[in-house]
């Protein structure tokens, strides 16, 4: 019997994380999939604030696939009344809520190895990473693209000049209904991404 020296070093990850990692090992022959997503959170501090909801929809072949979609609402341990007016999610709201772990697992299962798209996506990714950290697994492995940075590139704007999703919607004439719901923002960001992608000829 051979002794495996590395056994103690390679951490024993839960099943969902193994599955998630396995997506990245597969051959990349299939069509590239993007996932636009947005998290509504209790605030902007990724250490103390928590995710309230995640909305995500897939883009393939320059088309938003409406059926390839997920939305979850999270049970809130941290509740900040002051942010309720922005996202409209109450602690005891009528949406069915799940625990953070469940939400993140579903999210990983949804995104698989897709390239993540978001507006100021680093924040959303960090929020997910913090949640993953609480589950004691690694960070998101996906590539990510930020629509704000895409816009900077397109217009040759300096790096420190940021644009809000609202501003870009106005510029590109995207209707802003459902703004500040996770899936509504994800959809709007998706449209914005398609426009920018075309203009940047990616």
């Amino acid at each position: 019997m051979k002794f495996n020296w590395f056994k103690k070093i390679v951490k024993d990850y839960p099943k969902f994380w193994e599955t998630y990692l396995s997506y990245f090992n597969e051959n990349q022959s299939k069509e590239k999939r993007y996932v636009v997503f947005d998290c509504e959170t209790t605030g902007l501090d990724y250490k103390s604030d928590r995710i309230l909801s995640i909305g995500a929809v897939a883009i393939q072949n320059n088309q938003i696939i409406v059926g390839d979609f997920m939305e979850v609402f999270l049970q809130q341990d941290v509740f900040k009344p002051e942010s309720v007016p922005i996202h409209g999610i109450l602690r005891e709201g009528k949406e069915e809520k799940i625990v953070e772990a469940e939400a993140v697992i579903r999210f990983l299962d949804f995104i698989k190895d897709a390239t993540l798209i978001g507006h100021h996506v680093d924040f959303d990714i960090e929020m997910i990473n913090q949640a993953l950290n609480r589950l004691d697994v690694g960070k998101l492995q996906n590539q990510a693209m930020d629509t704000d940075i895409m816009y900077q590139k397109l217009k040759y704007l300096p790096q420190e000049q940021h644009s809000s999703l609202d501003e870009l919607c106005d510029i590109y004439k995207i209707k802003k209904s459902d703004r500040h719901t996770a899936s509504g923002d994800a959809f709007i960001t998706g449209l914005l991404f398609l426009k920018l992608k075309r203009k940047l000829e990616i």
Binding site: G55, V57, N62, Q63, I64, I65, V66, G67, F69, M70, E71, Y172, K173, K175, S177, D178, T181, S183, G184, A186, F187, G190, L191, L194, K195, R198, K199
Partner: protein
């Protein structure tokens, strides 16, 4: 799982047929399977001969143009706007797309999988019939009463109105032609031919063609005295007549005519001379089919029987304008063609009104178009401006005569309104007693405006000096023209007033060469193309051509051309003005077609950089021409 994105799409779809006939839940199921596509301007969704997609499409925002290719040119067939459906072909046919769908502006499209939608189509007869009707009829949204609908089918039935030359398409011909029997007398046949405005008549025996009589036969056999006018028609008919079957292409028809050296073909049930007559193809049909076009529309308006027929002509005219703009036909050509057709529509409306009244006009009269219609610069549907002048009549008859013409004008303006020309909000119409009067009254009216110019008089001059004879007795209009030129000749005060009026709109650029936009009101921050750019050029052309005594030219471009001829030293300025005017008019027309408005206000943020530069260059001549007016009429101290 709830899917707010699908709900959002459902909320959109439920407003448009055929989706409006489906339940919300069904629609939600459909929406969940859709895909959302973004198209950049000029990006294609599908091309002619592409294998059909497994989706059909709904325009969520933007606009998609459907076009066919002919002679290597794209010919626009239709434009789909918000809520319109396209790409239905895969529902009904296996073969490839027959059209190209290309975004005319940035668009968002919902792609709905045909597989998901099919069960709903089968289960809902309303949806099925909507799709079938639209696919089969090519009449756009069949639910829309005015036939000005939205939905476009892929099933292109080329009739000569909907597209340009389609050489290999079936020819459209006259079915159930007027026929005569061999025993009819020549004189009677000729009378029928002229009253029905046709150039040939098929002679039949038991509904089978045995010969044909054409204008040529009448000319060469009757008019020359070869036969008497009382003989029976079989003596002079050409026989046998060349017969063909239905469904002939334009090319085939033309070849058969050339081969047999004839200008008419008789269509019969099975194509032989021994079967029933079903139609007649003339050389004219071939010309018409190849050049779908102003000719057809002119002919159609001449034959119109009611206002709906005229409305149809005007709608097709809008397509014609769009095609011509797409093909970069010079705007003044488009303008003159459109002017002719507008003229024909008005003429026919007058004729119909006279028929309706039932008694012939009690005096000679002339119908004039004034304002932009008079200048023939009306490419879009704007309001109608017109006037009537009738010959001088004895005083005791004056009132009844005037009453007749006012009634006539009311009927005509009503018809024109139905066709799509709005009533003039300022009542500058012949139905207004003020603008329906005798020659002498008109002459006095103009004298009044010219000799005692005031703000109001000048305003009237700017409208009524641009007139165009439309219908009736032209000498009446000439008489007015003569008076105007006598009165204005060397009339410095009048020109000073008119000149000051022409300068009231300064060139539309600010000190830093930025656009001057509207600062308040409904059109805030848009550019008033008509008021700030077109009117100054129109006004300048009017005063200069009046002062030069140019007659019978109301069109601004023609006026500048005449001016350039008369004053070679200023020709460059005049030519530049003419060019700038054409360009600006094109801007307005394109804007109008795009936004279905009168195109008066341009949204600058929607213009490309190039367009803005073009616009600005067109403003330079306005500066120059206003300088000319200032100096020539010595206005520096006047205002």
């Amino acid at each position: 799982m709830k899917n707010p994105i699908a709900e959002r799409i459902t909320d959109f779809l439920k407003h448009y047929p055929p989706f409006s006939s489906l339940s919300y839940l069904n629609l939600l199921e459909i929406a969940k399977t859709c895909q959302v596509i973004y198209l950049e301007k000029n990006q294609t969704l599908f091309k002619i001969n592409d294998a059909t997609h497994s989706f059909f499409y709904v325009v969520a925002s933007g606009a998609v143009g459907l076009s066919v290719t002919s002679d290597a040119d794209d010919v626009l067939i239709d434009k789909c706007d918000e809520g319109d459906i396209l790409g239905l072909r895969p529902f009904f046919a296996k073969n490839n797309y027959l059209m190209t769908a290309k975004a005319r502006e940035e668009s968002i499209i919902y792609a709905i999988p045909i597989e998901t939608f099919k069960p709903y189509v089968i289960a809902n007869p309303e949806v099925l019939s909507f799709l079938l009707e639209s696919f089969a009829s090519n009449t756009r949204n069949p639910y829309d009463k005015n036939n000005k609908g939205k939905l476009i089918s892929e099933n292109v039935i080329y009739n000569d109105q909907s597209s340009e030359i389609q050489y290999y398409q079936p020819i459209k011909y006259t079915s159930n032609p007027i026929t005569a029997s061999p025993n009819d007398v020549v004189k009677f046949v000729a009378q029928t031919m002229s009253s029905s405005k046709i150039g040939s008549m098929i002679i039949h025996e038991n509904r089978k063609p045995i010969g044909i009589v054409t204008d040529k036969d009448l000319r060469s056999k009757i008019a020359t005295g070869l036969y008497s006018i009382d003989v029976t028609i079989d003596k002079i008919m050409s026989s046998p007549v060349i017969t063909v079957a239905d469904n002939l292409s334009i090319a085939e028809a033309q070849i058969i005519m050339l081969k047999n050296n004839v200008s008419h073909l008789c269509v019969t049930k099975d194509g032989s001379t021994d079967s029933e007559i079903t139609g007649i193809i003339t050389e004219h049909d071939i010309v018409v089919a190849q050049a779908n076009n102003p000719g057809v529309l002119l002919k159609q308006s001449k034959r119109a029987q009611k206002s709906a027929d005229l409305k149809e002509v005007r709608e097709k005219l809008a397509d014609l304008i769009q095609h011509s703009l797409d093909k970069n036909v010079p705007i003044n050509h488009i303008g003159s063609i459109v002017g002719e057709i507008n003229l024909a529509i008005t003429k026919r409306a007058i004729e119909l009104a006279i028929e309706k009244i039932g008694t012939p006009p009690p005096a000679q009269f002339a119908w004039m178009n004034i304002g932009s219609q008079g200048r023939k610069e009306q490419l879009l549907l704007t309001d109608q401006d017109n006037a009537i002048v009738f010959e001088d009549v004895p005083e005791d008859k004056y009132d009844t005569v005037k009453q007749y013409f006012i009634e006539l004008a009311e009927k005509v303006t009503k018809t024109l309104n139905k066709v799509g020309y709005e009533y003039c909000p300022a009542e500058m119409m012949a139905s207004n007693p003020l603008w329906c009067k005798s020659v002498s009254d008109w002459q006095n009216q103009f004298k009044g405006w010219i000799t005692a110019p005031g703000e109001k008089g000048i305003l009237m001059c700017t409208i009524f000096f641009d007139y165009d004879f439309v219908y009736g007795n032209e000498t009446l209009v000439d008489a007015i023209t003569k008076t105007i030129h006598e009165e204005t000749h060397e009339n410095q005060l009048f020109f000073a007033y008119l000149g000051a009026d022409a300068l009231k709109n300064p060139p539309p650029l600010g000190f830093f060469r930025q656009f001057l936009v509207e600062s308040d009101g409904e059109h805030k921050d848009t550019f008033d193309l008509k008021g700030r750019a077109l009117m100054p050029l129109i006004d300048a052309a009017r005063i200069l051509s009046l002062s030069k005594g140019i007659k019978n030219t109301a069109n601004t471009i023609s006026r500048y051309a005449k001016l350039a001829e008369l004053e070679p030293q200023n020709a460059p300025i005049y030519e530049a003005c003419g060019d700038a005017f054409a360009e600006l008019l094109k801007f307005r027309t394109e804007e109008g077609l795009k936004s279905e408005s009168d195109g008066r206000y341009l949204n600058l943020s929607e213009l490309s950089k190039l367009d803005k530069v073009k616009l600005k260059n067109d403003f330079q001549p306005i500066n120059d021409i206003q300088e000319v007016i200032k100096n020539r009429f010595q206005l520096t101290y006047f205002t």
